[in-house]
């Protein structure tokens, strides 16, 4: 049968760890000669600056998906944290306007509020046993409403220059995103916590029987996801110099899409931080290159939707192949 080797090759490709990395490289190499300005240092900086806050949110979501949950509230948490940061630090209307401790207090407030909201999600899922989809959807609505109510839809400007540098100086933003992503990768691949996450995502009951503290680990993972959203809020808010109750509102599809493209299973129990890095990179590359090619907004949206759909189908196929083995 002539098609058998081809099928084997397809199966290997589908199960390969580096599928998205290769996809990024092939895509870049294929488009570079035809896309004006695509392969330039300036454009690489643009792509990285755009992708880094999304990467940070996505890493948090990766952990939640691996444990078998979902967190739809991450972008709303970003919005509320952005508002809280603005309310604390803004020279125009901040509670600590002009104070020497405004920036550290603002950062602390943003991260604490986000982790706190993650804890609420975690409690809802573990203690109240509300399905993660509903629990985090509810949080998303509440938190979005709260962010708008706190600001009456106004944007908060006048953020301190020291804070703004965190999002606008590429090396600082890169270091923040890089170090936290690296830590998440280490936690997932080298620690007991990581192994517990995979075990719970695979089969929570079996994990529990094996002695894994399922509820505590799941709760903690939602807290971590919230914390990552807070960190992303710092990068978003500093990058745009504005506390914004609508910050990242339209990025949820990008975040979920990037995680899924990166190979994290929507069924739980499978996924890697490195995959998410490449998933985010892939979507950013697609977005950027199609813009550079001058394609219309509608085309770009359709291509991105198609890429995410293909990734979801691949995930389903991978899942089937793995269960057959």
């Amino acid at each position: 049968m002539a098609s058998l080797p081809a099928l084997r090759l397809l199966k290997r490709a589908l199960l390969a760890d580096h599928l998205v990395l290769w996809l990024c490289l092939v895509y870049s190499a294929a488009l570079a000669p035809f896309t004006p300005g695509f392969a330039s240092w300036g454009n690489l900086q643009t792509i990285l600056a755009y992708a880094m806050p999304i990467l940070v949110v996505s890493v948090g979501l990766t952990l939640v998906l691996i444990v078998g949950g979902i967190d739809l509230s991450v972008t709303s948490i970003v919005a509320l944290a952005s508002v809280v940061g603005g309310k604390v630090m803004s020279a125009d209307e901040g509670w600590l306007a002009g104070h020497a401790l405004a920036v550290p207090a603002g950062l602390l407030a943003m991260l604490s509020v986000s982790a706190g909201l993650g804890a609420i999600n975690g409690l809802a899922v573990t203690a109240c046993r509300i399905p993660p989809f509903i629990a985090t959807l509810t949080t998303m609505m509440l938190v979005s409403g709260l962010a708008i109510w706190l600001t009456l839809s106004r944007k908060i400007g006048g953020l301190p220059p020291g804070f703004v540098r965190l999002g606008q100086e590429l090396w600082l933003a890169g270091m923040t995103a890089g170090v936290t992503t690296w830590l998440a990768h280490l936690a997932l691949s080298c620690t007991l916590y990581g192994k517990w996450l995979y075990a719970i995502g695979h089969n929570a009951r079996a994990a529990s029987v094996s002695g894994v503290p399922v509820a505590r680990v799941t709760f903690f993972t939602y807290v971590v996801s919230g914390w990552f959203a807070g960190l992303a809020a710092i990068l978003f808010t500093a990058g745009l110099e504005t506390g914004n109750p609508e910050m990242a509102r339209d990025n949820l599809l990008d975040v979920v899409g990037a995680v899924v493209i990166g190979g994290t299973s929507l069924y739980g129990g499978r996924g890697r931080v490195s995959g998410t890095v490449f998933g985010v990179l892939f979507l950013a590359l697609v977005d950027n290159s199609l813009n550079l090619l001058g394609l219309t907004f509608y085309t770009i949206t359709m291509v991105k939707g198609g890429a995410i759909l293909a990734a979801a189908l691949t995930d389903a196929l991978r899942n089937r192949l793995l269960t057959q083995e």
């Binding site: 839809s153 509102r249 907004f297």
Partner: protein
């Protein structure tokens, strides 16, 4: 009990190779950076103009970025700018941010990467566009903000072509008050305001209150509905206001695109009647879109303040060209706009963009 599936990271079957995870990630990242560097290196010649295109200087390229194309007004503005640029043989690079400030910043940086000669931008809002303007400033690319000015920021240079929202709204509402006065009774008024993070929405709200101030004998404002430029919020707000004040008979909407919401609410309260009919609610708006035009033609709308899209498109492009030619350009160019109503519909319809959109 469901059996534990085979999994490389299972707590029960740990994969020894996982210990090398960080090293593997580092190797992968290094590999990708190396290949990216090679690709960058191979294409260093890519600079001023796209491959296969004319050399720089022969034809100008302008990047046009809109934050959204969700309403007819923005679509009409987008088309008017493109027509204006094409008419002057200027190449266009376009992108839409889909309401995302972060994406808009990336798209403006993409224009900078492409070394466009000028940028026309509809910012998401007055504040989040500041980094995008700074990026253009740093690259020495002139940037014109179409219809939405930026907030004041130190060292940030841009040209804004905007309607005088406050003045045009005041004129529109003054016309409506004139119509209300003719009825000889006191009207209860309602105003729908937009997203108060949008400087245009603030201007329209202020214009409304400028006009009604001191006119309490004619119009007593009993409700203000915040819409955040959302049709559903506008509809529920108007429905609630009509329940609280069933005798509201004077409504100003800060944008014509909210009229479907107003009409739905009025119909459900059985208050949607033509001019001259008993129970007509005096209606006014702002923008001059196709819905407003049709409502004027059908005799339901009293007046709307029309932003002159064609004027704004022409001035935006001209301002860019003037700046590129080294001429002095004011940082704020005002579109005077005009109020259209039943009395001047025939004379003014040619300049009403909504009438042209409707015709297409």
């Amino acid at each position: 009990m469901k059996p534990l599936r085979r999994h490389p990271h299972s707590v029960l079957h740990p994969d020894p190779s996982r210990a090398a995870g960080p090293a593997r990630l580092a190797a992968r990242l290094t590999a990708s950076l190396l290949i990216a560097a090679c690709v960058v290196g191979c294409n260093k010649s890519d600079s001023t103009s796209p491959a296969g295109e004319e050399p720089a200087g022969k034809q100008l390229t302008v990047g046009v970025n809109f934050e959204t194309l969700q309403t007819e007004y923005w679509v009409a503005g987008f088309e008017a700018i493109k027509a204006e640029l094409k008419g002057r043989n200027i190449r266009i690079v376009e992108s839409i941010a889909d309401g995302d400030s972060n994406r808009q910043l990336q798209q403006v940086r993409t224009f900078v990467t492409r070394k466009v000669d000028g940028i026309i931008l509809v910012p998401k809002d007055a504040k989040t566009c500041i980094p995008a303007i700074k990026a253009a400033n740093e690259a020495g690319i002139p940037i014109v903000l179409f219809n939405r000015p930026a907030a004041e920021a130190q060292g940030v240079r841009s040209i804004a072509v905007v309607a005088d929202n406050r003045k045009l709204t005041r004129e529109t509402v003054e016309f409506m008050i004139g119509e209300a006065r003719k009825t000889g009774k006191q009207h209860k008024g309602l105003v729908i305001v937009g997203d108060l993070g949008d400087i245009n929405a603030i201007g329209r709200r202020e214009g409304f209150y400028d006009a009604v101030k001191g006119q309490e004998a004619v119009v007593n404002v009993v409700a203000e509905v915040p819409s955040e430029w959302n049709q559903e919020k506008a509809r529920s707000g108007v429905v609630n206001a009509l329940q609280a004040h069933p005798d509201i008979s004077f409504i100003f909407s800060s944008s014509d695109f909210l009229f479907p919401s107003v009409v739905a609410a009025l119909k459900s309260a059985n208050k949607y009647h033509k001019l001259g009919e008993l129970g007509h609610v005096i209606l006014g708006g702002f923008d001059g879109d196709a819905t407003a035009y049709q409502m004027l033609v059908d005799g339901y709308l009293d007046a709307t303040g029309v932003q002159d899209v064609y004027f704004e498109a022409e001035r935006s492009v001209q301002a860019l060209l003037d700046r590129l030619a080294g001429k002095e350009v004011p940082s704020l160019i005002r579109d005077p706009g005009f109020v259209i109503h039943q009395g001047n519909l025939e004379a003014k319809r040619e300049r009403m963009w909504g009438a042209q959109v409707g015709r297409k």
